[in-house]
């Protein structure tokens, strides 16, 4: 229970109440525009030609036949866009169109713009590419075993893209102090974001011969990160950023899959520049699977030492990431697979080794949870096993090890608010969770096949806890600039316009800005007009990734609004003869809190203020505070201004004869700090639960013979209404000191505990461990058969043997000063860090 809470001077008017999103009515009436809805005069259609081979050298490309086809207006190849790009400065390894080599089936090779899509179909077939096929690497093991088949020059050694090795504290001593040590291997398959909206963009070049740059470019794109796209477009197209405008219209889901700058965006721009006409490129669903940037397949090894009472003494964690053909966010992902182990449970010492391999598959990147989902699965199942080995209640085991609020971790992360204990309490109570007690006869949730020939169903409950960041502590490209900024303009007619680069991908970030500004200025949100995600109009917000937007844009919005409020209160104070400190703003008036009848309508205050100060415009910005990370190389991934916490109990039903697995219910408690709009928070929790459940039991990005095996929505299984469990959401609201109105994130954290909770529930139900995700019926079936034949209770993945030491130097680091209470705790500053 947090002892110091955010000071609330009065109950909120807007914050914390459920209300429709600001774009809800546009969305339910079909008025909301998405990228493919944009139709411009004289618009052309574009398409990419993609590699049919997983690994090949390009010997020649001849586009002449395509160019000669009537209705084709431009064809480009890699030679036309030779500048490399990538989302990470440390991974600039992509070409808009392949030069020299293709590295996965789907790697873009050429692009065409034509009058209509039917012509495109023809044109694509008329581009002649000669390839020299090379051997293809399709797994982590193959990548390690064949360094001579070099996929990507970013790898200094063989196909090793990145290797990291850390030791925090005295790990050997930690294991020596343990009463019991356990090791486990597990594997988490890769999966795709599968937003319902396919990637799409429209580029429009407007030539201007008197401009040295030649003209200006506008790109509407279904993207989560207009700012990063803006930067990379400038680099690849050789156009100043001042001449490029990137706009994200409504985005039909992203989940991390629309956070990279993409070939189709760059090519649409270049084709528009060459033709002088708008060019639209809309990807097919198969292309979405090939563009990917989805969850890395990760094979993991975990070893922990515990005391007899379950107290953790040491942990050693290894992750092997299958990165696909390019870097994307993968370096960050590699760090993420090791960074947050210390943020849920107290680890006095910790060793982490991670390695990312290149393979000839669509590149992996960030998917909801970004690199923390896989290790969270490994840990929470591992803890369950430990609890079982020690004969301790798995909830008790977790409780004994929970981190304390306002402490630092052994790897230098700063933990502030933490209500994980409450989350665990809530899900345990509501689900009537019982400790793992597998006795077939005693299983209270079993129903036997008492009606003949009906399936015999056994039920079980499983529990897991988790944490996630509220925004990456460092931007993608390191700089000293704010991470988010908000500009607000007050119009003398009483209108309020809020500008922010924050990108609404369905999570409601635009609405959050409205609610926060409305609360601060004491007005109805419906009065506010929002301009978002437009690199020309809106100040930079880094984008919708790492669950940063509510925390960072929210704080920036508060800062901007307070500046304006100060001006309004100054003139109101004069008009009303009331000291500023006694004024409040709510319900569209500014009033004396001691005598609410003494009031000035908002519009009047604005007019007086404009007369006094001139145009009423203010900007606020936010950057995370200092001191939230260690000072070792690589410490930039993991830190965050706050962490959210979640706990999940899953109830499953297993048909013991067929292995058919049904997830019946999920209880999810999420420590969100403060709901800005509980409807939206609950929506994120439920959506995260749904997605986690899908990953746990049916989603998989898999390959066969070098190709994506199932690049369609029929074969890649997304849970329908008939496959989705009942979800009970519990919001735990203990305000965070630095979050806007105490708010933390909700977009990603709730997904993480779901997968291990389901895995643990399967064990509770039928006594088998499938240490691979997804846990599909055929695996359960096989595990049950093994169990029946006395072949053990676990389906474990094949371990990876590394014959040589970890291929990078070890970084040993210890936190200066005591590991314990945060010395720099400041209890009454509502917003810390670089807010101005």
């Amino acid at each position: 229970m947090a002892k110091d809470q955010q000071q609330k001077t009065r109950a909120y008017k807007i914050i914390g109440t459920p209300r429709p999103k600001v774009d809800a009515y546009a969305k339910v009436t079909g008025r909301a525009l998405f990228a493919d809805d944009i139709m411009l005069p004289r618009m052309l259609y574009g398409r990419l030609l993609r590699s049919p081979y997983p690994h090949a050298r390009i010997l020649s490309i001849d586009t002449s036949r395509a160019q000669a086809l009537p209705g084709v207006l431009a064809v480009i190849t890699g030679a036309d866009l030779p500048q490399k790009f990538g989302i990470l400065p440390s991974s600039q390894d992509e070409y808009a169109l392949a030069i020299d080599k293709v590295r996965y089936v789907g790697d873009p090779v050429a692009a065409v713009a034509a009058l209509d899509p039917d012509i495109l179909d023809e044109a694509i077939k008329l581009i002649d590419v000669e390839y020299e096929v090379l051997p293809a690497i399709m797994s982590i093991e193959e990548a390690l075993a064949h360094p001579e088949v070099k996929i990507n020059d970013e790898a200094r050694i063989g196909n090793i893209h990145k290797a990291v090795s850390y030791e925090f504290g005295e790990v050997e001593a930690g294991f020596a102090a343990a009463d019991y040590i356990r090791e486990d291997w597990s594997y988490y398959e890769g999966n795709n974001h599968a937003p319902i909206e396919e990637h799409a963009c429209v580029a429009q070049w407007e030539p201007n011969p008197s401009d040295p740059a030649g003209g200006k470019l506008t790109l509407w794109s279904s993207t989560q990160t207009p700012h990063y796209v803006h930067r990379e477009l400038s680099k690849v197209l050789g156009l100043p950023q001042s001449h490029i405008r990137v706009i994200a219209p409504n985005v039909g889901g992203g989940f991390g899959g629309k956070s990279d700058p993409f070939s189709h965006e760059i090519c649409a721009c270049e084709l528009s520049r060459r033709t002088g006409r708008p060019v639209k490129i809309t990807c097919t669903r198969e292309e979405v699977f090939l563009i990917h940037r989805g969850r890395h397949p990760v094979k993991m090894w975990i070893k922990t030492g515990v005391k007899r009472d379950g107290t953790l003494t040491a942990m050693h964690f290894r992750s092997f990431l299958d990165g696909g053909a390019y870097g994307s966010y993968g370096i960050a992902t590699t760090y993420y697979t090791g960074a947050l182990q210390t943020v849920t449970y107290k680890l006095p010492c910790y060793k982490f080794e991670g390695i990312r391999l290149f393979t000839n598959k669509p590149p992996c990147g960030p998917k909801r949870g970004h690199g923390t989902t896989q290790p969270r699965y490994a840990i929470e199942v591992h803890l369950d096993k430990l609890a079982h080995d020690l004969g301790i209640d798995p909830v008790e085991l977790r409780r004994r090890n929970l981190v304390e609020p306002y402490t630092h971790t052994v790897n230098g992360l700063r933990i502030t608010s933490c209500a994980l204990g409450e989350c665990l309490d809530q899900v345990v109570e509501r689900s009537k969770f019982h400790p793992n007690k597998l006795a077939a006869a005693a299983n209270p949730h079993a129903s036997n096949g008492s009606v003949q020939y009906q399936p015999a169903i056994k039920r079980g409950l499983g529990i897991a806890a988790s944490a996630y960041i509220c925004g990456a502590g460092k931007p993608i490209y390191w700089n000293d600039l704010p991470h988010s900024a908000v500009q607000i303009r007050l119009d003398r007619g009483g209108g309020v316009t809020v500008y922010c680069g924050a990108t609404d991908i369905g999570q409601g970030s635009t609405s959050i800005l409205a609610y926060i500004v409305a609360e601060e200025l004491g007005i109805q949100p419906e009065r506010i007009h929002l301009e978002t995600a437009d690199t020309t109009l809106t100040p930079v917000d880094l984008g919708s990734y790492s669950s940063r937007v509510t925390f960072m844009a929210g704080n920036a919005a508060i800062a901007a609004a307070r500046k304006l409020k100060e001006q309004l209160f100054e003139v109101a104070s004069e008009r009303l003869h009331v000291p500023s400190e006694s004024l409040q703003a709510a319900n569209d008036v500014i009033y004396d809190e001691h005598d609410p009848g003494v009031a000035l309508p908002f519009e009047h205050a604005v007019q007086f203020a404009e007369a006094r100060f001139g145009a009423l415009v203010a900007a606020g910005s936010y950057a995370p505070p200092e001191g939230i990370h260690g000072d070792y190389k690589g410490a930039g991934v993991g830190p965050s201004p706050a962490y959210s916490y979640s706990a999940c109990v899953a109830q499953v039903a297993v048909d013991v004869e067929t292995g058919d697995l049904v997830v019946e219910k999920l209880w999810l408690a999420h420590d969100v700090g403060q709901s800005i709009n509980p409807l939206l928070v609950a929506g994120q929790v439920e959506g995260g639960a749904y997605m986690g459940c899908g990953e746990a039991v049916m989603e998989q990005q898999i390959f066969r013979k070098g190709l994506h095996k199932i690049p369609s929505l029929l074969d890649y299984k997304l849970a329908t209404t008939l496959d989705t469990p009942e979800i009970e959401t519990i919001l735990v609201e203990i305000p965070d000191r630095e979050g806007p109105f105490g708010a933390k994130e909700a977009g990603q954290g709730p997904l993480n505990p779901v997968i291990p909770a389901i895995a643990n529930a399967v064990y509770d139900a039928v006594g088998v461990r499938i240490d691979e995700v997804p846990i599909t019926s055929d695996k359960v079936f096989r595990a049950l058969k093994n169990l029946a034949q006395g072949k053990g209770t676990e389906l474990q993945p094949t371990p990876i043997e590394l014959s040589s030491p970890w291929p990078t130097r070890l970084i040993s680091w210890q936190h200066n000063g005591s590991q314990g209470e945060d010395q720099s705790k400041a209890s009454h500053v509502p917003v810390q860090g670089g807010v101005s």
Binding site: P678, L713, I734
Partner: protein, 171 residues
């Protein structure tokens, strides 16, 4: 060669010149400016393109305009009447059943068809009727709540203010 056909869409009669191989989805969006109907796969595997043909949910990505000239086609634009929203649109907005909003047009039309056939659907019926509409954002939970609220509203039952099924725990 384009063919001149007549389509009855949202209560209006339209003459459109179409190529036979352009699906209803493409004609609605690209020839008629009705961009409310969305697409997520174009192969009948997601339900995003759902429209109503004579009141029945049908996939517009697998329908040829040539074949539905005698039918009443309803798209999302036609669910509202003269600016007045269908109760299901209201409850979707009020209860957070639309997050990114991309599956929403198709979901609403399937939902409207459900409510016409079953004015007080059970959860099971909702799941069956909406089993052909994938949503990636909501986990379907608030969609069911919105359908229930709309059913109540349409039968003149207890008017629901926003009452999301969210349990809060405040420390």
């Amino acid at each position: 060669m384009r063919q001149l056909i007549t389509l009855h869409v949202n209560g209006e009669r339209h003459e459109v010149a179409v190529l036979p191989h352009h699906t209803l989805l493409e004609v609605l969006r690209e020839d008629m400016g009705l961009i409310g109907t969305k697409h997520g796969c174009e192969l009948g595997e997601c339900g995003a393109c759902t429209v109503l043909i004579d009141g029945m949910p049908v996939l517009s990505c697998l329908t040829l305009p040539l074949e539905v000239q005698e039918s009443e086609i309803t798209t999302i634009e036609g669910l509202e009447q003269n600016g007045k929203l269908h109760p299901l649109q209201e409850t979707f907005a009020e209860l957070g059943a639309a997050q990114c909003g991309y599956c929403t047009p198709g979901m609403l039309l399937s939902g409207a068809a459900l409510l016409r056939e079953h004015p007080h659907p059970t959860r099971e019926q909702m799941k069956e009727y909406l089993a052909g509409n994938l949503c990636r954002c909501t986990g379907y939970t608030k969609i069911y709540e919105a359908v229930e609220a709309a059913a109540q509203r349409m039968s003149g039952g207890d008017e629901q203010a926003i009452r999301p099924a969210v349990e809060g725990y405040h420390g």
